[in-house]
């Protein structure tokens, strides 16, 4: 007892200890200041970007801007075909990229034996994440447009972007699965669950919040992509909408829209920004604001789902 009490008492009155302690606290303050500075660089840059876009583009944002097709006259030009195209392409991308990526991630992490082949697959998946997006465009042009004959369509675009985000989703799925404690798997194995039951009933529910984070990053990346879509031949001026997926006659659902030409928001934006004239630049800024808003909205939806799923877990 006396030892335990006297040790810190002696140490705190010790001059070298006290000096050292002061230095230690000072370093803490220095790091906090550095951290705040580092954080604000990103925040300020983003804020300036948004303010700049808003100053030049906000006046163009009105109801007509969303419901008008592009036009030769800047004041009448709108983004109807672009935002519809973006949403439809994202729909295809998400419905192909997410199941494929998550399934591959689960297989690689939970099922695949650890050997040279899985190592090769693993290295390739990580490398895919670093392949420039325009290269995906070239691949898609050769494989889908000419090889499979899917045309310069929404379907081809969705497929291309699905490939692009596949490695992101695979890697984040694997990391989320790896973070699930082994003791949870043992608990399920211990009462006789099969591997698939362990995976479906316990590992996946615990990993889904992390997987969704990867999905958010992937979709946000895909919605801003321009280069691969230009490569496969997205249109830049388009004054019609693809046919509606819901029809009045049996079977009420049509997939014809998938095989239409399209444009997307970033291409429309690029198209306007490359034109001379202040008016079109304002349109570009407005389209940029919309693109930002759509990205944020998609993220918000995913974050909401993640929150709901996390709440269901009773850690």
């Amino acid at each position: 007892m006396s030892i335990a009490l006297s040790l810190p008492a002696r140490a705190s009155t010790d001059q070298p200890f006290a000096d050292h302690l002061k230095r230690r606290h000072r370093r803490e303050v220095i790091f906090i200041v550095l951290g705040i500075m580092a954080t604000s660089v990103g925040l300020i840059a983003l804020a300036m970007l948004v303010v700049d876009l808003a100053l030049s583009g906000l006046t163009r944002i009105n109801f007509d801007f969303f419901t008008n097709f592009p036009s030769r006259r800047a004041s009448q030009a709108g983004i109807l075909s672009a935002w519809v195209g973006s949403l439809l392409v994202m729909l295809v991308t998400a419905s192909i990229g997410i199941p494929l990526g998550v399934a591959a991630g689960i297989y690689l992490e939970e099922y695949a034996p650890r050997n040279i082949w899985t190592n090769i697959v693993e290295i390739n998946v990580s490398n895919l994440a670093g392949v420039p997006s325009i290269v995906y465009g070239l691949l898609a042009l050769g494989l889908f447009v000419y090889g499979f004959g899917t045309g310069r369509s929404i379907f081809t675009a969705g497929l291309t972007l699905a490939l692009l985000i596949l490695p992101i989703i695979i890697v984040s799925t694997r990391e989320a699965i790896r973070a699930v404690p082994w003791s949870l798997r043992e608990a399920a194995y211990g009462i006789g669950a099969t591997k698939w039951q362990v995976t479906r009933d316990h590992v996946l529910p615990a990993a889904i919040p992390g997987i969704l984070t990867g999905v958010i990053i992937g979709i946000s990346r895909a919605i801003g992509e321009t280069a691969p879509l230009v490569t496969i031949g997205a249109l830049s001026f388009i004054a019609f909408l693809p046919p509606s997926p819901v029809t009045g006659t049996f079977p009420f659902i049509s997939f014809a829209w998938m095989f239409e030409g399209f444009t997307v928001l970033p291409i429309q934006l690029f198209n306007w920004v490359s034109r001379p004239g202040q008016d079109f630049h304002a349109n570009a800024a407005a389209a940029g604001l919309v693109l930002l808003a759509v990205t944020l909205m998609l993220n918000a939806v995913a974050i909401y789902f993640r929150y709901q799923l996390r709440k269901k877990l009773k850690w």
């Binding site: 043992e186 194995y189 211990g190 009462i191 006789g192 529910p205 877990l313």
Partner: protein
Amino acid sequence: MNQISIDISRATHAGASDALHSADIKVFGRDVDVHYGTKQALFKVSVDIPANAVTAFIGPSGCGKSTFLRCINRMNDTIPTARVTGVVNIDGVNINDKSVDPVQLRARVGMVFQKPNPFPKSIYENIIYGPKIHGLARAKADFDAIVESSLRKAGLWEEVKDRLHDAGTGLSGGQQQRLCIARAIAVSPEVILMDEPCSALDPIATARIEELIDELRQNYTIIIVTHSMQQAARVSQKTAFFHLGTLVEEGPTTTIFTNPRDKRTQDYITGRFG
């Protein structure tokens, strides 16, 4: 097959001279070797586990007692680098045989782990998960009955009956461990393996679990790995002492603790190492 029949005769022969061994042998291991990668963790372990009794595995850290425990429900199968050879026999069947399905085996041999590991779900869902995947019940009333009887057997019913749909992870450590025992009981196993079930618990929760183990041995064959020699002495009828991956000595708990044959056993139980 030939070897197994010889081994059974050995077991019954030993039983004739000893009151405890005259009980049925529920589980036995013969020449069990376990490798993790290139490292051998278990060397030719042979041990008999009597039915409806508590058998304690004791020994210093890394001696292989948990490794052997995990051979009894083939939990080592879940570790890719693990390789198990030899015979582990339950009710006359070698469970290492290819024809034995580990999923079915684990429904008969339950396990309780060192750290309480309830599922991140409600107490109710924790209990019914096993019966549900094995198709032991369909109607809600059946599940309700399983939940109540399992929790009663685990001595947890009175404490949680009003909050069955609260999170299992919200319980105290000792309650969580009893929930894990109830979860194991819910699939009506014959053998329950316990891997240091009290090492994360305080003395009062430990005492509660030990009482429970004593009650459970009426209906189940229990094997408990423990670091605490006092615990082994308190709860078990039979004790096996492991050291450096070998089984040094097995026998009635009173004999092991009062009159061990091997010097290593004596040194360990008197606290000279371990």
